[in-house]
Symmetry: C2
Subunit: 336 residues, 2 copies
């Protein structure tokens, strides 16, 4: 009897993933073996991981390519917050088999394209079945200077934020609606907010520059909400972050959404999640160096407050201060 | 108003995870920041990832610590199959919040303990909510010699296997039964088979030794079944693997299970998954070197066949040969 080996379904998909994968100078062994192998010079390695679960971190029916792009973006944002330049990533996908191979292949395409835009390469991964779609990425890279932790902020430092907090939270509300719209909201604003949620732009080059120039004394990426992430940076640094309500960079699109939907844009900006912007502290003397680079990279930045002694994160306006560190997304609100 | 920052539930669990984490000479920044940072000498880095999904890769209700141990073991097995020594890992857990913090904490404890036994350390991770439990690990390490791929086997090489294939598949059948037993099976055999499924022993030291000594011309870990993984090694190497039925190392426990359950132990050994044993090819002249090291490490090994020209993987006995490369576990049997 002659053996003719039927290529298994899982292997067929893996072969197609291998065909999508790109090469890179350091990549000695790419996807398809038991482990990936890369060559590295001596030095520090920064590594992060994020798992996205259908129905929790993204909406059912999300476009696979956009999901792959987003899964990479949230990991790139973590590396950016460390002041690190991305190098390679591992991509795990668990998917209901009946959805067909186009779902994992679309995710891989989106992930590879998103990473390539920042000079990073797929090294390997894992494919398995599940009752619902799960995408997990582990991404590593190299700190451009000293790693920027959450713990170096000192009283007197200025607090900066990239981008426009709350846009993604408004985009999520739009995406959850059917149709994804709010009466009275202009199409351009709707598209901008939806894109902020579905396809966030990680601040990779700016984060690495802050690290390389040793300008950020502490940094975190705002993924669970400005309030709670400000609280985390404050706690790690042993300081208080005092943000000023009137300085929060509310985008025109968010303002339009808030007016049309009858909500407070500040609540979305402080309590909404999924922004993937960088919140960082800078010595006041270094602040003048930021604007030119941010402009050159097309990254909006804004000084939104100051570090003081104490603890927690507060938002202040003419009427006083309020705690914002317990706002925002908490996966485990019900866990005790 | 004085701000008192309430520590969020998710952060509370992360704090407890940080308290469990151990230090390591290379670990510059461990769990709790946006990314982990480790110091590394120049050279190759081997990296792998595996995701375990409740109901697919492990049974609902699995003990959290054992699940953490197993999640680490399956990744260590991939590194072993590359001839690499493990260094650090990232651990992502998605869990239904209502199950309480003891589930993720148990997983972390088990994972840390399992990795520590092989000299590896938790570097970071991600915690999120999900409708069902998912554990994803990314593990990296250093090839002890040249990385051992699946693709170097040549006609004439001997084919070796560690351990006893099919024990884990029998253990899964036992675990799925309620109570986990088969009439007529001795308690010691039952325990041995259940342990093979629930808490496999990755062949870390032996795999690294094979790599360091450049003894394995090709290697793969048998996780989806001996047949299908033999087929994968054969395809990557462009050869045929001819395994001999009478040489398959059927454990006494598997033989007892098969007799009691009325199944063919060879079918479980060839078609069952979750073995996490090493299948590797060795030049015939090098074969005499294997036994002493395997004995010293307490790793059972057996020559089970030979590499020939051709393609596929076959099992031969007195009656002839049959294809075994399409047996075994396929997550995507229904996907087309």
């Amino acid at each position: 009897m002659i053996a003719v080996s039927r290529l298994k379904s899982e292997d067929r998909i893996v072969e197609k993933i291998r065909a999508l994968a790109t090469t890179s100078p350091g990549l000695t062994i790419g996807p398809g073996d038991d482990a990936a192998v890369v060559a590295r010079a001596a030095g520090l390695l920064a590594a992060t991981t994020d798992m996205l679960v259908e129905g929790v971190d993204f909406l059912p029916g999300e476009d696979p390519e956009r999901l792959g792009r987003r899964a990479v973006a949230v990991n790139l944002s973590d590396l950016a917050a460390m002041g690190a330049e991305p190098e390679f990533f591992l991509l795990s996908i668990a998917v209901p088999p009946e959805r067909g191979e186009e779902v994992p292949l679309g995710i891989v395409r989106g992930a590879i394209a998103r990473a390539a835009a920042h000079g990073a390469t797929l090294a390997g991964g894992d494919l398995s079945a599940a009752p619902l779609l799960v995408v997990s990425i582990a991404f590593w890279g190299r700190p451009a200077g000293d790693p920027v932790t959450r713990s170096g902020a000192s009283p007197g430092d200025l607090v900066y934020l990239t981008g426009h907090p709350g846009d993604a939270a408004a985009g999520l509300r739009l995406a959850e609606a059917a149709p994804p719209d709010v009466p009275g909201l202009a199409a351009a604003d709707r598209q901008r907010l939806l894109a902020a949620f579905r396809d966030p732009e990680p601040r990779v080059a700016f984060g690495a520059w802050l690290g390389r120039e040793r300008l950020a004394t502490a940094m975190i990426d705002v993924s669970d909400g400005l309030g709670v992430d400000a609280g985390r940076l404050a706690r790690a640094s042993g300081v208080c972050l005092r943000l000023e309500r009137e300085r929060l960079p509310i985008s025109p699109a968010l303002a339009a959404f808030a007016a049309a939907a009858g909500v407070d844009p500040i609540e979305l900006a402080v309590g909404g999640g999924d922004d993937y912007e960088l919140l960082f502290a800078v010595r006041e003397a270094d602040a003048p160096r930021l604007g030119e680079k941010a402009d050159a990279l097309g990254v909006p930045i804004r000084a939104i407050g100051r570090v003081s002694s104490g603890s927690g994160a507060v938002l202040s306006d003419a009427r006083g201060e309020r705690d914002i560190a317990s706002l925002g997304h908490d996966h485990f609100e019900t866990a005790r």
